[in-house]
C-alpha cells in the first residue's frame, strides 16, 4: 500500500477515534466507532493480514456495532455536553492522564529502538496458513473463545430476561 494512502487511512482512523470520544450524542459516537473499526481493518490489510482484516470489518464493524447501535437506540441517553472543567474536573484530569500515558508510551517506543524489527515478508498471509495455526497450536484458546461466547450469550439472555421472569 502506498504511503500516502496509508497516511490517509491512519488519519481517518485517528480522527474517527477522536470523534468517538468527543461527540455529544452517543449515536454519533457509535457511527464514528464504525468508521474507526473499518480503518483498523484497512490497517490490518496494510500489515498483510487478509483474514483478520476481513474479520475485523465483518465481525467488529458489522456485528458488534449492531449491538451497540441497538443499545444506543434502546437507551437513547441524553446529550452530554463536553466541558473541559466539568464535574470534579474529570475532563481535565482525563486529558492530563491520557497525555501522560501517551508521553510515557512514546518515550518507551522511542528509547527502545525498533531498528531490530524487520518486516518478515512482503506477501500477504494466506487465510489457510492462519487457519492451520488456529486449529493447530492455538486450538485450546480458540475453543475457549467459543465457550466464552456461549457463556456471554447465556449471561446476556439471563440479564436481559430477568425482569420479565420477575414480572411473570
Amino acid at each position: 500500500m502506498p504511503d500516502i494512502l496509508l497516511a490517509f487511512v491512519g488519519g481517518v482512523t485517528l480522527l474517527a477515534a477522536l470523534g468517538v470520544i468527543l461527540s455529544k450524542e452517543a449515536v454519533h459516537s457509535a457511527l464514528f466507532l464504525t468508521v474507526h473499526l473499518l480503518g483498523i481493518g484497512a490497517l490490518f490489510l496494510a500489515l498483510n493480514h487478509q483474514f483478520l482484516a476481513v474479520a475485523q470489518m465483518l465481525v467488529y464493524a458489522g456485528a458488534v456495532m449492531v449491538v451497540f447501535m441497538f443499545a444506543v437506540t434502546t437507551l437513547s441517553p441524553e446529550e452530554e455536553p463536553l466541558k473541559l472543567t466539568g464535574s470534579d474536573g474529570f475532563p481535565l484530569l482525563g486529558m492530563v492522564a491520557g497525555l501522560g500515558a501517551f508521553g510515557a508510551i512514546y518515550w518507551g517506543l522511542s528509547t527502545s529502538g525498533l531498528s531490530g524489527h524487520k518486516a518478515v515478508s512482503d506477501g500477504l498471509v494466506a487465510p489457510s496458513s492462519f487457519a492451520s495455526d488456529l486449529f493447530g497450536p492455538f486450538l485450546l484458546p480458540f475453543e475457549g473463545t467459543a465457550f466464552l461466547l456461549l457463556t456471554a450469550l447465556i449471561g446476556a439472555v439471563l440479564l436481559g430476561g430477568r425482569r420479565q421472569i420477575g414480572d411473570g
Partner: protein, 109 residues
Amino acid sequence: MANSPEFFLVLSALIFCLGLIGLIIRRNPLVMFMSIELMLNAANLAFMTFSRFPPANRVSLGSPSDGPAFTFVVMTIAAAEAVVGLAIIITIFRNRHSVDVDALTSLKG
C-alpha cells in the same frame, strides 16, 4: 512508512490514549464502552504490527501467528464483553432510569 513499525505503533499509542481519555471524561457508559473498544483495537493494532515486524531474534519469541491469534481472541472477547456489558447497562437503566456513571456510587466505602 509501510515497511517500518513506527507509524503503526505511534498510531496505536495515540488511539489507546484517546480511548483512555474517553473512558475518563465521559459519563455515558455506552461511550465508555466504545472507548474501551478503541483501546482494545489499539492493542490489536500493536499485536499485528509486532507480528509483521518481529524483533531480530524472533525464534525465541514465538511463531508468526501469535499476534493474529491474540487479535482474534481479543475480537471474540470484545464481542462477548459488548454483549454482556450492554446487557448490564440495560439492566441498570431499567432499575435506575439513568445511565450516568457518576450516579452509581453504591460501592462507596
